[in-house]
């Protein structure tokens, strides 16, 4: 049951007879008339129960991209349905214009579309669909809220993809197709081709030159078909907010950029998101589908306030990888990394694999360290300095164990990790 502005206007209209005949009886009579009309109108309204509502398919969208939620309403009752429908979503789905007027004849159907603009990664859920039908006079109506399930999967924004073209260019330079040859212990012999001006004379293959009667050079290409395992830490420290987004989001951006780059470079990328248990896993996906699979897999992953289980990570890595591979631990380097076991596990893994630890740092830490305004600022600066020293100690320990450490501000983490990958590849350390 609900009333509209017309019912209010009708009540206000009662002021005319009351002013002309100022008696309590006038007020009472008008009240009775008003009540009778409101109840009658509500009774004559189409029943909101006799409407079949179905939700259209909701394809996954990338964060900040618009989506559309469609509802199909079929009037299964015998009365003309007039009113309004509200397709309610959780606030971060950005369903601003979610109210739609309705006018459906019996047996007919209507489709209403609500534009969505998600502002949060993950699985966004609709709330109930509320249907308010109005009576023939339009002064009162009936209302009902019906759950119509659906899920909008919002993929990570992958804003770091703007760094991809420059990194791919660097990758091509390393490749034998480019004029630059890279010789190193880890690069693989690719092919022989005719010498052109500018080639490194050290790359001339004299034996082939003698056979072919022309100058021939060897070309090299970086190794291919290496395996990359990205371990995404979703535990306590990934919940820390750096700037506007949690640390995990910076890690996801870095993981996606590395996946895109390594896949183009011909390597096979796997991912596992883990805290005390495995939250998401991508493996054995074909190169053409790995990006979309990975984005969909990490989309619903959210930080949890638990301690990470690095022993489980070591176990996972041993299970997944039999030969030498690149293991990227996307986590946080903190003083507590020693107690939680990150350092020990990374050092152990570094014996069998190339291990990279990627950590997004807090942009506010530097500002805190430089604070000099009040005496409280000085103590904060001292605390920031102490935290920095502790992080440095952990980093030194990791490096000593042969682990590469990439510590950057959230926005710089993804390109820095990509650069580290390229450097390792160029040096043949994969």
């Amino acid at each position: 049951m609900s009333i509209t502005w017309r019912a209010v206007a009708l009540a206000a209209l009662g002021l005319v007879p009351v002013l002309l005949l100022p008696q309590m009886a006038t007020v009472g009579t008008w009240l009775l008339i008003w009540l009778a009309l409101v109840i009658l109108d509500a009774a004559l309204a189409a029943s909101p129960a006799k409407v079949a509502i179905t939700r259209g398919r909701l394809p996954a969208v990338r964060l900040t991209e618009p989506a559309t939620s469609t509802l199909t309403l079929v009037n299964t009752g015998g009365r003309r349905l007039r009113g309004v429908v509200r397709d309610a979503w959780q606030p971060t789905a950005g369903a601003e214009r979610n109210r739609h007027p309705l006018d459906i004849q019996p047996g007919e159907a209507r489709r209403v579309s609500t534009p969505l603009l998600p502002v949060r990664r993950g699985d966004l859920l609709p709330h109930r669909v509320t249907l308010r039908t109005l009576g023939p006079l339009g002064i009162a109506g009936r209302q009902r809220s019906i759950p119509v399930p659906g899920t909008l999967r919002v993929l990570p924004e992958f804003s770091s993809r703007r760094h991809l073209p420059s990194r791919l260019a660097r990758l091509r330079e390393m490749d034998g197709r480019s004029a630059v040859n890279v010789r190193g212990p880890g690069t693989e012999f690719d092919s022989l081709r005719e010498y052109v001006m500018g080639d490194d004379v050290r790359a001339i293959d004299w034996r082939a030159t003698a056979r072919r009667q022309e100058m021939v050079v060897r070309t090299w290409r970086p190794e291919r078909d290496r395996r990359v395992l990205i371990v995404l830490d979703t535990a306590r420290l990934s919940a820390a907010r750096l700037g506007d987004a949690p640390r995990l989001d910076a890690g996801i951006e870095a993981a996606l950029l590395l996946t895109a780059l390594a896949t183009r470079a011909g390597d096979r990328v796997e991912l596992v998101a883990v805290d005390r248990e495995v939250r998401a896993r991508v493996s054995g996906t074909h190169a053409s589908a790995v990006m979309s699979t990975m984005a969909a897999a990490v989309a619903p992953v959210h930080p949890r306030l638990v301690e990470p289980d690095w022993t489980l990570v070591a176990q996972l890595v041993r299970d997944r990888l039999s030969q030498r591979a690149l293991v990227v631990l996307v986590t946080a380097v903190e003083a507590s990394s020693v107690e939680t076991g990150l350092v020990q596990v990374a050092a152990t893994l570094a014996g069998d694999h190339q291990v990279v630890v990627a950590s997004a740092t807090d942009p506010e830490a530097e500002a805190l360290r430089r604070g000099r305004e009040t005496s409280a600022d000085l103590f904060d600066a001292a605390a920031a300095e102490r935290a920095g020293l502790e992080r440095r100690a952990v980093t030194v320990e990791l490096r000593r164990a042969g682990v590469e450490v990439v510590e950057r501000l959230p926005d710089d983490l993804a390109p820095a990790l990509a650069d580290t990958y390229l450097a390792l590849k160029a040096a043949g350390r994969l």
Binding site: P22, E364, L368
Partner: protein, 394 residues
């Protein structure tokens, strides 16, 4: 209806909690309606109980001083009851408007604390046709009420014999009273100096009496000496008595919104009904409010700030200074080529060479006695910053 039917149709409330990071399941509309009915029934039952309790516990007496329904020592229920037994109809009012409405000719208007009334109130009372008894006067002014008397001094409460010709005073023989005394061009009795504790005069048909001490009316003061005779005779002159105890919040004579726009009650009621309709119109939401399942996120710098606060509360100046010094050395080490295991002497040597300062001043900055005050910590920080910029310039 059998008992099993009752059991199955009884409303049930299902409690559903939200797990961490999960959405609560949708409650069905039927369950929601049952819950609404339960809430409405509970609210109505509570209201009924509240009204019943209020009815049972309401005092039929008040605790207003000099009120005719107050049985306390400061009240005046005794006097009012005696008057009622004598056939006087006592009407108790708290507002000036009610007092002037009730006080018609042929009745008595008793005004307590008349000097505390505002001039407009006094003027309105001065215009009534009833006989007037003023009681319990204090330090205020009566100028708007009457110009026949004025309060000019105070006296101790004591027993005083009659000293005038007024019949009520003579009947009382003596009274025990004190407080303000009045004088003027009127007959005054029970005098202290030139002024009296009791005064009376007539203006046309209207008789005025003044009992300056309100204590005589109270349950404690009434039976003392001849107080009762004087009070009861003064108040019982007519068979209708309007007992006016002024309410300090009485807005008489001040303009209110209702005074400026006088509206008949039915119009006000209709406007109220329109207001109710607006509330019903705007109050019904189109579906429930949707809440966001909020993620757990903590600002990363909070831990650092918390640690800084701990240092500060503990007054750990030395500890903070050690952190600042160590951080400084770690930062400049790479720039000036210091190994991480370098000792004090090597650090001081290298930095002296890099900055061009003396060994002593650098040793003092880096390894001098730790500061113990905020100022000491401030100057140390400043010295470290200066040294850092010098090393960077070099």
């Amino acid at each position: 209806m059998s008992s099993t039917d009752t059991a199955t149709s009884a409303p049930t409330i299902v409690a559903r909690g939200y797990g961490a990071g999960e959405r609560g399941p949708e409650t069905s509309t039927a369950a929601g309606r049952r819950r609404t009915v339960t809430i409405v029934v509970a609210v109505v039952a509570l209201l009924l109980v509240a009204v019943l309790v209020a009815q049972l516990t309401t005092r039929r007496t008040s605790d207003v001083a000099y009120a005719p329904d107050n049985p306390d020592p400061r009240g005046a229920r005794a006097a009012a009851q005696v008057l009622e037994e004598q056939g006087v109809d006592v009407t108790y009012v708290r507002t000036t408007a009610a007092a002037i409405a009730e006080a018609e000719a042929g009745s008595t208007l008793l005004v307590l604390d008349a000097d505390t009334l505002r001039p407009e109130q006094q003027q309105a009372i001065a215009e009534v046709e009833a006989d007037i008894v003023l009681a319990n006067l204090g330090g205020g002014s009566l100028s708007a009420l009457t110009d026949r008397i004025e309060i000019d001094s105070y006296t101790q409460r004591a027993s005083r014999p009659v000293d005038c010709e007024d019949e009520h005073a003579v009947a009382a023989e003596s009274i025990t009273a004190g407080g303000a005394v009045v004088s003027g061009d009127v007959e005054t009795c029970f005098q202290a100096g030139e002024s009296g504790l009791y005064a009376t005069w007539t203006e046309g048909d209207q008789t005025w009496r003044v009992l300056t001490d309100g204590w005589m009316l109270t349950n404690t003061g009434l039976p003392v000496a001849g107080n009762a005779a004087l009070v009861l005779r003064s108040l019982g002159a007519h068979d209708r008595l309007v007992w006016y105890v002024p309410d300090p919040n009485d807005g008489f004579g001040t303009e209110t919104l209702a005074d400026q726009f006088p509206l008949p009650a039915p119009v006000v009621l209709q406007l109220f009904l329109v207001g109710v309709a607006i509330v019903l119109w705007r109050g019904r939401r189109l579906g429930p409010v949707v809440v966001e399942p909020l993620p757990v996120q903590v600002k990363a710098s909070e831990t650092t700030r918390g640690r800084g606060r701990l240092y500060r509360r503990a007054g750990a100046h030395a500890h903070a200074a050690a952190a600042l010094r160590a951080g400084f050395v770690a930062r400049v080490a790479g720039r000036v080529g210091l190994p991480s295991h370098a000792g004090r002497d090597q650090v001081v040597d290298t930095l002296a060479r890099a900055s061009g300062r003396s060994h002593e001043s650098i040793f003092d900055v880096l390894y001098g006695p730790p500061p113990t005050t905020d100022e000491g910590l401030g100057s140390l920080t400043q010295a470290l910053d200066t040294l850092e910029s010098e090393v960077q310039r070099a």
